[in-house]
Subunit: 330 residues, 2 copies
């Protein structure tokens, strides 16, 4: 079968012929239809993100396809012949190939009204968005008030889903972007507060606004110096979750924020959240995603590419990240 492979961290991608993998017990073989490029894929390709890689590695955290073989077990057999959204199993090969083996539990049959393309994007972004709001609910409870949220790289598909969910739940949200033209995009998407981190008054404005909105929960996909500026600006007792590293630089923080202002920094990785959430919350989250996939969670597709065009696809995605998703079609 054809597969997109990488031979080292940060290395070029190429298309190779490799054997079709065989599903084991509890697993299925999925003939892939579509798979998006997500920021988490870029982080994975760069290295140091998620589970350890064994090279050559097939990237791709999520996709959709048809279950064409079962490795044995009740759930795998139930999935046979179904068009499913599917997530790669940690430490196994990913979605960017003609066929993928994954656990049957990581395959969700798509409702008839959801296309295979939309379905290919149902895990990473929608479930991350729901996880963020789940964290928000717990943290609000802990603080005894409805706190506000700050999200960065907010023009991303995930950022726009967060805007819709925040509006639906009437949760104050500050969307942080890095290019002036993204302000209008996000205002049109329903965002009330959009701040440009490149503006000279950003730090001061964020500080005032965060105090006003009790914005004590930060989700940061950028890292580097921005993380430290955000932590400086938020009220005492705030918590930051780093979930991406678009800047590729180390995060730097003023130690006083930790010591005197009881701020804290943690990380967010969807797989870890799902593991800690337990089965019930996982199933509830999947059900909510299915319900919202046609509206709040629909992702606009910017361009589609064949596996052979993977390098072009990645460049296009990197350069037009806020224009919509880039999809690989198999």
């Amino acid at each position: 079968m054809k597969a997109i492979i990488q031979n080292e961290d940060g290395g070029q991608l190429s298309v190779s012929e490799i054997p079709v993998p065989k599903p084991g017990k509890g697993e299925v073989l999925v003939k892939m239809i579509a798979s998006p490029i997500n920021p988490s894929d870029l982080a994975f390709l760069r290295g140091g993100y998620g589970p350890e890689k064994t090279f050559p590695v097939v990237p791709g955290f999520e996709g959709s396809g048809i279950v064409v073989a079962s490795g044995g077990g009740i759930l795998p057999k139930l999935r046979l012949g179904k068009t499913v959204a599917c997530a790669a199993t940690p430490k196994k090969q990913g979605c960017w190939a003609e066929y993928m083996v994954t656990s049957a539990a990581s395959c969700v049959p798509l409702p008839p009204e959801v296309s295979a393309e939309q379905g290919s994007m149902m895990f990473v972004n929608p479930m991350t968005a729901l996880a963020f709001f789940d964290i928000h609910h717990s943290f609000s409870k802990e603080k005894g008030k409805k706190i506000g949220i700050i999200n960065t790289a907010a023009a991303s598909t995930l950022g726009q889903m967060i805007i819709k969910l925040a509006n639906r739940e009437k949760i104050p949200l500050i969307s942080v972007i890095r290019r002036e033209e993204q302000i209008e995009t996000l205002k049109n998407a329903g965002a009330e507060f959009v701040l440009n981190s490149e503006a000279p008054d950003f730090d001061e404005t964020l500080k005032i606004l965060a105090a006003k909105l009790d914005a004590m929960l930060v989700f940061d996909a950028v890292g580097g110096k921005l993380s430290g500026r955000l932590l400086n600006a938020v009220p005492s007792g705030s918590r930051m979750y780093i979930y991406g590293r678009l800047s590729a630089e180390e995060c730097s923080f003023n130690p006083s924020g930790f010591i005197s202002q009881e701020k804290q920094v943690k990380g967010f990785l969807l797989n870890h959240w799902l593991k800690n959430a337990g089965l019930l919350k996982k199933l509830q989250t999947i059900n909510t995603v299915k319900k919202l996939l046609k509206n709040d969670f629909s992702s606009s597709v910017h361009r589609k590419f064949s596996p052979e065009e993977i390098s072009e696809a990645i460049d296009d995605y990197k350069n037009n990240m806020s224009k919509g998703k880039v999809i690989i079609r198999f």
Copy 2:
């Protein structure tokens, strides 16, 4: 009365004549006998540490003295005439003056066998050490195993108390120092594992040792690049508490530690810990300190200075931090 005052963050200290303060309800007036210089005082003088300051400010977080006046209330009256260890009240003037007003609850009568000098050091270091072990117990419970501890600036008085407590409780401890000669000092103090962060193999050795000892709890008083190196070295799921900023630099962290390895960074400030601990734990901690003050918690005194010699005292303390405490005598 004579008081040591500072007029701006990082500013020189001087001795001024200011009015003797008057205690309000629940408060007492303490005629100060002795007060140590702690790393937290240096951080306070530099600014950005602890509660906001109103200048001119009298520094000094802890000391000892005789209660000479009550502002009214049962506890203040009970304290009248007693020799006490006392802590400054946040946002009020500190201990480095002939007299200090503080809440009666922040005054602990000294047992007859404890000198006023030893008593002047019973809050900050001993209670911080006990707080660290309290955090250790909770975190070990959360992880389901007895985890190890890493402490930096470990040749400090606090560092040596931590060594004694860890030995008493048989908790694996890695003491991190920055000067080769401190290794012997700490080995003599009973430390089993002492690593020099300036050694070329420090990061690799720490990584191996931390994995072996399940050292997932880091207390860092240094900050800057060291914080990031420590977080890189510890096992997945580790937690770091920043409690000092001796390096005066920003802490820098690899975002992958947060995202992929579920590590987290928080701060530690004794006042916050006491506030969150509640009255019962606070009283238990004070009782434990009283019990251990004659042995595990005794601090060796390096030199004593008069208030007029404060600048010399601070220089001496900074240059000989691992030689023992520097005390101001009133």
